[in-house]
Subunit: 333 residues, 2 copies
């Protein structure tokens, strides 16, 4: 990563915008240029720009009593970085729009910023601007991430063909397991059940699969790709819809995350439908060899692409079911 980041730094220049509230918190590590009406980005010739925007809203995407501020900042940026990873791109700059309630302690903002900036620095991303406002209710963040890929080389959702094999990175359901656990605390005891983030890393500090996505794109291994932000069943449906195909998944092969103090495997349902794992789901042409891991992340074959349009799930004892997308709806009420 370090070398790639240096290369990017040399090949582009960024003039960030400057916003007073950010200045106090982010200035040192972030603002390398002058303030202006717009940030100015110069990319290498031969590159295309990737743009993604994602909300992180209090009560919808996080809860102040469940999530440490550092986790909220980390997850906010991960949402955008993961979209860049799913195109096989390299992230360049992020823009944060942040609306804060008047009574929010400054310490919350500082810790939020630290979580976000630590992740940005890890991937050589410049926080280049954004907007600030007073919030009419709750903490509201909207992250924009801009990345690059060589022209015409971004890995799209639409490239899957019948016969392609389906792979997933890491393990699934770990993030949803944390939400289920915290939610059960609410229901059964009518009080908050705080979790230790180190036992639920994939929920509190998910790592975007930037390096894996880049390698898959560079080596031409992935024919189609998407990140599992909404859950396997929903994200596979998106990929199939864009490619005009169907799929068959083998339930026994789906890598289920281990969570909690006892490292217990999550239920199949969470692995199938739980969102916000930010793993990569991708397809590979029949002849291509995929290593057991890339960039330190395990890769598992979980099924194959069919003519479609439906998606079927094989479960043990030769049962087969149609798999309907019922992925992540955030904190359902």
């Amino acid at each position: 990563m370090a070398k790639a980041a240096e290369q990017r730094q040399a090949d582009r220049s960024i003039r960030p915008t400057r916003t007073s509230v950010f200045k106090s918190v982010f200035a040192k590590s972030v603002f390398t240029g002058i303030g202006d009406d717009c940030a100015v980005l110069r990319l290498r010739p031969g590159q295309e720009s990737l743009v993604t925007t994602d909300f992180s809203l209090e009560g919808i995407h996080f809860r102040r009593d469940w999530h440490p501020p550092e986790s909220v900042g980390h997850r906010c940026l991960t949402r955008g970085l993961s979209d860049i990873a799913a195109m096989g791109g390299e992230p360049v700059a992020a823009f944060l729009s942040l609306a804060l309630p008047r009574d929010l302690p400054q310490s919350w903002v500082g810790r939020f910023a630290r979580g976000l900036i630590n992740l940005a620095e890890k991937y050589g991303v410049t926080l280049a601007g954004g907007d600030t406002a007073e919030s009419p209710g709750g903490i509201l963040a909207d992250i924009v991430v801009i990345g690059t890929a060589p022209k015409g080389k971004s890995v799209l959702r639409s490239g899957a063909r019948p016969g392609d094999r389906i792979f997933v990175s890491g393990a699934l359901g770990g993030s949803a397991a944390a939400v289920a656990e915290m939610g059960s605390g609410l229901k059964n005891e009518n009080k908050n059940k705080k979790l230790n983030p180190s036992n639920y890393r994939r929920h509190f500090y998910p790592e975007p699969r930037i390096e894996l996505g880049r390698v898959l794109r560079e080596k031409g291994l992935a024919s189609a790709m998407i990140d599992t932000s909404d859950g396997l069943s929903t994200d596979l449906a998106h990929l199939c819809e864009e490619s005009g195909v169907g799929a068959e998944l083998d339930a026994a092969l789906i890598p289920r995350a281990r969570v909690g103090k006892l490292s217990k495997k999550v239920d199949l349902d969470l692995a199938l439908h739980g969102g916000e794992d930010y793993e990569l789901l991708f397809t590979v042409r029949a002849g291509k060899r995929i290593p057991a891991q890339i960039a330190g992340v395990a890769l598992t074959e979980v099924g194959h692409i069919t003519r479609g349009p439906k998606i079927f799930l094989w479960i043990p004892r030769n049962m087969v079911h149609e798999l309907k997308p019922r992925g992540w709806q955030h904190f359902q009420r």
Copy 2:
């Protein structure tokens, strides 16, 4: 505009992201390509990218009982387009993140979209993606606009030098006058005072000065530029700060907007400090000739740049005051 828009269309390609809620409303006029994790933008070689993000939050930037939905959509996009204009750039694509309360009528969303899309079409801007969420309170919009300018040619805030003359486009204070009028209704009669938008166009349907900004950049006329989103006193202070200079303004020269049924000139205070007019404030080297209008917009010389760092205001009868920035704070509570 039409020819420039055609040229841009020919020279770039955009693959937008697709979001289900947008699809229903925006699909026909907006989504020209396939959906994916990111939108893919390809710009002409030799261009730099301009990026700007702006919140439009209910209760902070607009009120549902004061602003027709079409006006909210129009103003939301104007905020971003005006930042592009202030760099002398040409807008290319917009991304809208929109969080809506569960009980918001679909008709509100449709009318909001119409206001935004009409303006986008006028300037050849593709609505290329965004995010949607349920809002925990109030309507929340965040607009991202991406534009381009030839490399190194964007007009920055930092280029003003002592001796430069200061110009402003159009007339000032018209937007703030509408807010003052609606606010007075609240205070005096404890009820809403709805205004007729056609008597207060600059507030309800402000036109971003894209064409003017582009011409000033192409002809090399502006040494520094900013848009008057926060009000003349605050925006001139921003420009002076970035340029390391001061300024003197002549109160008698400041073009005051005419508003209401009787086309009454607004008070000097509103023209000096009222925000959200989205006019352009720019500086010009001593020798250059500036026409009385460009692209149909009147241009007025209002003062000149000094060594600084303070900004002084000359008012009739030879009085001179230091001018402190006290521009737009949205709806102060």
